[in-house]
């Protein structure tokens, strides 16, 4: 992946929300803090990483079957249950009594759960399998 695409820098947009500061607590001598107007502009990762907090859960990964998708052992996944399963999405799957993370592949009327590691084989889902798509993975949080 080219680096310039992988990193996006966000510059603060001052134009859209420029407010005139109103100091309610009486007028005090001195110049009001120039930062007071920007206090609400902290970045809230909760907001950024969970578009739908009511349906968002965190899940910890154990294992290596998804390393090519950037999901490693001990990573924490942000999972949104409200999203619909789609081709190519990475999903939390509950198949035949076990949880796993896999990429969903719709292949000519057949559903495949694809690992992202050559050492693992795809799982072909047939009518005999019991599958629940528990949620869709939206972000990976990892400690470096």
């Amino acid at each position: 992946m080219p680096i310039e695409k992988a990193l996006t820098f966000y510059l603060p947009d001052f134009k859209s929300e420029l407010k005139i500061p109103i100091i309610n607590e009486g007028v005090s001598a001195g110049f009001p803090s120039p930062s007071a107007d920007f206090i609400e502009k902290n970045i809230d990762l909760n907001k950024e990483l969970s578009k739908n907090p009511l349906a968002t859960f965190y899940i910890k990964v154990k294992g290596n079957s998804m390393i090519n998708a950037g999901i490693n052992d001990k990573d924490v996944l942000v999972v949104d249950r409200s999203l619909e399963p789609q081709n190519n999405k990475i999903a939390i799957c509950f198949i035949d009594g076990e949880f796993t993370v896999k990429r969903i592949k719709l292949d000519k009327e057949c559903l495949l759960l694809m690992p992202e590691n050559e050492k693992y084989a795809p799982i072909k889902v047939t009518e005999e399998n019991q599958l629940i798509i528990w949620g869709i993975v939206t972000y990976v949080i990892k400690a470096l």
Binding site: L54, F57, V76, F99, I132
Partner: protein, 424 residues
């Protein structure tokens, strides 16, 4: 139009969200301290595990039928409950959270063409987003929506979990089907009374020949219920969370206790927790009750339950006052019973009033110094951690020691406890 939304076997369903392998399997949830069964999956109900069954009584059944048993995980249930309620709130701004797993909704002012379809949407969204199955009853009054909900739950296959009472014919049919003891607000005591009058169904209750009797025996509440069942709405949503009418802290001991000092420590702690809860909801209590329970198998007499109550001339939420009163009563209860082995104790405070609406007392009043002291204790405990500041008669080392042998992780409220899955 009102709706009652009720989560199906809520606690069991919460456990299954994170452990779907127990779908279709019998699941039972135990009360605090792993005492008795407080929630069952349908499969556990079908095995004949009764509500409230003490765990030792169903031990064999649990083993034989492979029933999955959980300690209650209120951190998890509370979080999932909040999510369910917030989702319901997306369908109407008018919501009354009735309990951890039930809410009344009102749709006045919204134009909804098809309530069945709207109900299915609500049900599906809660199921998809949180994983909790619900049933929904729609009706013109709150009491009838409870009835409709019961029908939706009982006939889930035919109703798809959503039932609407919107015609006179459906209302009468529903009332005739509803046993009087299942009607909202008819408790055990009332059940006997109304049955003596040959009122056996909700429909009987609404018949004109009982009106005078209901008025006389059940007063305004009875009449309100009658109107509600007749389809005349008299109960509105109650958005403000009602203060609890009493607070009870009771625990079984891990080992039986005879020793007075050990009992005093426990009773003091229970009293302290009662007082703290009172202060949290800004209430005061007038009456304090202490109870002791003897292990039935260790005695030859029939008296195994001991209790004593005192009503103070003033309302209080001071830990000192409540603990002192409780210790006094404990002293009296323990005297002459020193040989008994107690397996359970409790402190109950009742006769609650609003902290700010205490009656003016001419002679007796709570020591005003207590108020400041309690505020300080609460602040310190908030700051440095729960229950670091205690009374001298409490044991600093002894904590709750709640028995939770089957506790599931706090999947949604503790980062160290989040669901871990094998990626293989």
């Amino acid at each position: 139009m009102y709706a009652l939304v009720d989560c199906n076997n809520f606690y069991a369903s919460c456990e299954r969200v994170f452990q779907p392998k127990f779908n279709g399997k019998p699941v039972a949830i135990l009360s605090n301290n792993d005492g008795c069964v407080i929630s069952r999956s349908n499969e556990a109900k079908a095995l004949g595990i009764p509500m409230g069954a003490p765990i030792f009584k169903i031990k064999e059944l649990v083993k034989e039928k492979n029933v999955q048993v959980f300690s209650s995980n209120y951190a998890l249930y509370g979080d999932l409950s909040n999510r369910v309620m917030a989702i319901l709130n997306q369908f109407t701004p008018n919501l009354e959270i009735y309990s951890i797993d039930e809410a009344f909704l009102n749709f006045d002012g919204l134009s909804i063409l098809d309530y069945h379809d709207y109900g299915i949407q609500m049900k599906n969204r809660v199921q998809k987003w949180v994983g909790i199955p619900v049933c929904i009853g729609f009706a013109p009054t709150k009491a009838l929506s409870k009835v409709a909900n019961k029908i939706a739950k009982k006939f889930q296959e035919r109703t798809a979990g959503v039932y609407i009472i919107d015609t006179e014919e459906k209302r009468i049919k529903a009332l005739k089907w509803t046993k009087i003891e299942d009607v909202w607000g008819i408790g055990r005591r009332l059940e006997k009374k109304v049955k003596l009058r040959n009122i056996n169904t909700a429909y009987d209750f609404t018949q004109p020949q009982h009106e005078a009797w209901i008025k006389k025996e059940m007063g305004v509440l009875g009449m309100r219920l009658k109107y509600e069942l007749e389809g005349k709405s008299v109960l509105d949503l109650e958005p403000i969370v009602e203060q609890k009418k009493s607070i009870a802290i009771t625990r079984s001991f891990p080992k039986q206790i005879s020793d007075y000092d050990a009992l005093r420590e426990r009773v003091t702690t229970f009293a302290a927790v009662c007082a703290e809860k009172l202060r949290k909801q800004h209430s005061c209590c007038y009456t304090i009750i202490v109870m002791l329970v003897v292990d039935k198998f260790t005695i030859t007499t029939s008296k195994y339950y001991f209790n004593r109550a005192i009503t103070l001339p003033f309302g209080t939420n001071s830990t000192l006052t409540i603990a002192n009163a409780a210790i006094d009563m404990l002293k009296q209860l323990h005297k002459g019973n020193e040989h008994l082995k107690f397996k359970k104790a409790g402190v109950i405070v009742t006769g609650l009033t609003d902290e700010n609406k205490k009656q003016f007392q001419l002679f007796d009043e709570e020591n005003p110094k207590h108020l400041a002291l309690m505020k300080t204790i609460d602040r310190l405990n908030n700051k440095v951690g729960t229950n670091k500041v205690k009374l001298g008669s409490q044991n600093l080392m002894l904590t709750w020691n709640m028995k939770q042998n089957h506790l599931s992780p706090k999947f949604t409220t503790n980062f160290n406890d989040i669901l871990e899955i094998q990626c293989q």
